[in-house]
């Protein structure tokens, strides 16, 4: 008989290997599932998990989709380490984009280098403001931030719909529900000529390094980890749980807002009802795939961005429905949480009781 045995110490090998095992299991499950549904399961998995990485012309696309995922996941992971469960990054992402777009619409007739930085600042503040509400409710009234942050996402999305269909509708847009296109001073510069690769991609990488420094090298990062691991020890060490909740919520809101602004001022160039594509939710998977480690999150962001790109490929190669991408992403999260047990436990043969 097989049995679970608790490891004396968490396995470093499994810490790194369990995400890879989860990816393998997800591929296997997907293959079986889609074969059973009558699709070409093998090629479906190949299109989603391998093709995006094997064809260099797709790499730019992976970068564009990966940058917001990494940025949002960095902030979420910092919160998760402190047991602050911000599930509403999607809402903060949308509010960041709305705030930045607000600046863009106000400065529509102006030119100047300062416009884009002002939009960035507005994006950060917009995300922070939206995250401040769950933080306040948790600290003052002990309301679960899981519920409040999630519910506020839907408020943000409805607010976006209202703006693009009402006050912010492009006057020259043939009544389509969308804002004006941003001017060149309001758009993120591309870093590679002739590609979609915009400034957000190097920004995400720099932010990952900063987040790593914060978590591993500073007292502030130490406080966040202690509050998450042992609240009583945190109090004993003189760290404030309330302050940590505030800080981590605001950081994750700021990064989600920044990602939203970059997306609006980058690939979209305007706001439309199609703007919320679920990056805020997918970033949760990215954070866990990266083991809440900022450098791991870069890896996780690349994998998940690949599934977005691959999902589009699979739509044409094996005619997989678009929903298949979400299904693969969800399976991956499921497998990640399941394989996590390997870090602290190992499987062994049950010895007969003497």
């Amino acid at each position: 008989m097989l049995e679970w045995r608790r490891r004396r110490e968490p396995s470093t090998l499994m810490l790194l290997a369990s995400p890879l095992i989860a990816i393998g299991l997800t591929m296997l499950t997907g293959m079986i599932l889609f074969t059973a549904m009558g699709y070409d399961g093998f090629h479906a998995v190949e299109s989603i998990f391998l093709t995006p990485f094997l064809e260099p012309q797709r790499w730019g696309d992976i970068g564009v989709k990966g940058a917001p995922l990494v940025m949002i996941a960095l902030g979420l992971a910092i919160g998760f380490r402190a047991n602050v469960w911000n599930i509403g990054a999607e809402g903060q992402y949308v509010m960041g984009a709305i705030a930045g777009t607000g600046v863009a619409l106000l400065t529509y007739d102006m030119t100047g280098w300062w416009i884009l930085p002002a939009m960035v600042l507005a994006g950060i503040l917009g995300g922070m403001a939206w995250a401040a509400i769950p933080a306040l409710l948790r600290v003052k009234l002990q309301v679960s931030e899981i519920l409040t942050s999630l519910m506020l996402t839907y408020v943000a999305v409805q607010f976006l719909y209202f703006l693009v269909r009402g006050p912010w509708k492009d006057p020259g847009g043939f009544n389509f529900p969308q804002t004006r296109m941003f001017t060149s001073d309001q758009t993120l510069p591309t870093v590679l000529e002739g590609t979609l690769v915009h400034l957000g991609i190097p920004a995400a990488l720099v932010l990952a390094v900063i987040a790593w420094l914060l978590m591993e090298k500073t007292t502030a990062g130490y406080a966040i980890k202690v509050v998450g691991l042992a609240p009583a020890a945190a109090r004993h060490g003189g760290f404030s749980a309330a302050r940590t909740t505030w800080a981590t919520m605001l950081i994750s809101g700021a990064l989600a807002g920044l990602a939203g602004l970059f997306e609006a001022a980058g690939p979209f160039g305007q706001l439309t009802p199609q703007f919320p594509v679920g990056y805020g939710f997918t970033a949760i998977i990215v954070a866990f795939l990266g083991r809440l480690n900022p450098l791991g999150i870069v890896f996780g962001g690349i994998v998940l961005a690949g599934t977005y790109v691959g999902g589009e490929i699979a739509q044409s190669t094996v005619r997989l429905p678009q929903a298949a991408t979400g299904l693969f992403q969800a399976t991956l999260l499921f497998m990640l949480l399941a394989t996590d047990v390997l870090v602290s436990w190992r499987i062994g043969w049950k010895r007969r009781a003497a």
Binding site: P10, T218, L229, A230, A233, G238
Partner: protein, 514 residues
Amino acid sequence: MNQPREQEVPPRLALAHISKSFPGVKANEDISLSVRPGEIHALLGENGAGKSTLVKIIYGVQQADEGTISWNGSPVSILSPKAARKLGIGMVFQHFSLFDAMTVIENIALGLDEAVDREDLKQRVAAILQSYSLPLDPEREVHTLSVGERQRIEIVRCLLQKPKLLIMDEPTSVLTPQEVERLFATLRQIAAEGCSILYISHKLHEIKALCDNATILRGGRVVATCDPKVETTKRMAELMIGAELRKIEHGKAATAGAVRLEVKTLSLPGEPPFGTDLESVSFEARAGEILGIAGVAGNGQAELLTALSGEQFAAGAEAIKLDGKAIGLEGAGARRALGLACVPEERNGHAAVPDFSLAENGVLTARHRLPLAPHGFISRGAVRRFADGVIKLFDVRTTGNAALARSLSGGNLQKFIMGREIGQQPAVLIVSQPTWGVDAGAAAAIRQELVDLAAKGSAVVVISQDLDELLELADRLCVINEGRLSAPRPIASLGIDEIGLMMGGVHGVEAAHA
């Protein structure tokens, strides 16, 4: 005496040579006792004497390693609480398992092993309440009831099973004196009807008032069996605490120095549901002395420690003074920076982060007084050097500074934690249960460190349930009981019996002429 007739009947419960070990500790060793039908038998002992383990074995929660249990004369093995209830053993735990939002009768129905007809149950409950004249409304919701009333629910639950043996685990620890009187009347009536009662307590006067026989445990062994009605409280206290006390030798006649820590009428509400309110606690600790605070667990020790460490704020800054500076409203970090170090009772999760390495755990409390994290950046080298120093100086047995705190034995982790605080050379060190669960060698080393720290001019406050330890270490001793602290007395002027009486809740009156 009228013993011979009763001895013809086999004892209701007889334990023979029961032993039970846990990793690193022998909780019960060769325990034998017997309870006659209708007898109220006291199980007396300090915290950690092995009372809880023994009753868990009787109630089927745990199995003994060795020894036999006989029930009405025939040997039985009790594999689960359900099996125990089937035999006719009922137990009322110290902490109740009741649903606040449900009524009394609903709670009783939920606690029964088999489904019963609701109307029938109501009648049986009503009959029990009447025959024992227990005031309790079966339709009230539990959250509206007092602690005493809640306990009655648990008792009724047991009585429904028509028990032959009722185990009461520290039943009076949460009751008012009036409720205690009421409980005793009920228990006497239950016993008079032939049900035996095993009464677990450390409160001597209660046992004297209620019990027919007493088995006294100390360090997992039976040290005496006596008739509490005849035996003096003083003698029982001695037996419970242990007669073979070490000779106390205090280096110099305590020429205590300046007051380093002053606590003045510190009051703090305890955290519900089981917290204890601190009521107007006052004491001083002087340079060069060790002040001992004795008391049975759950009398406010944890609350006192968090109030002093800064995890909880006092009502005013003046309530706590460190070297003359009012710090009652300072946080834990600020207090530590000023020189007040604390070691709480719980090592994993409070004093240390179990999933952090020893090096990382050094940062937790040492960063305020040592340059481990200048300008908010943790200096890896300094952190490792500090941890290595503590490990070496305090003889922590570990694989190195990268070992996780959780991987260390209790004693080794405690040595590291003590070393971490002492290594900061605090003005005042407050430590709770410094040697709880620590092997004898490590305990001696830790005590030596405390004595040395005081000798260097710090004030040391030791909160402990281990009287031997306090008598060995402390210059002055006070007792905490129900959140109140007695006035400190020089240890030389205190008799062991007097301390025992104070711990058992007998204040002043009897103690004065003991």
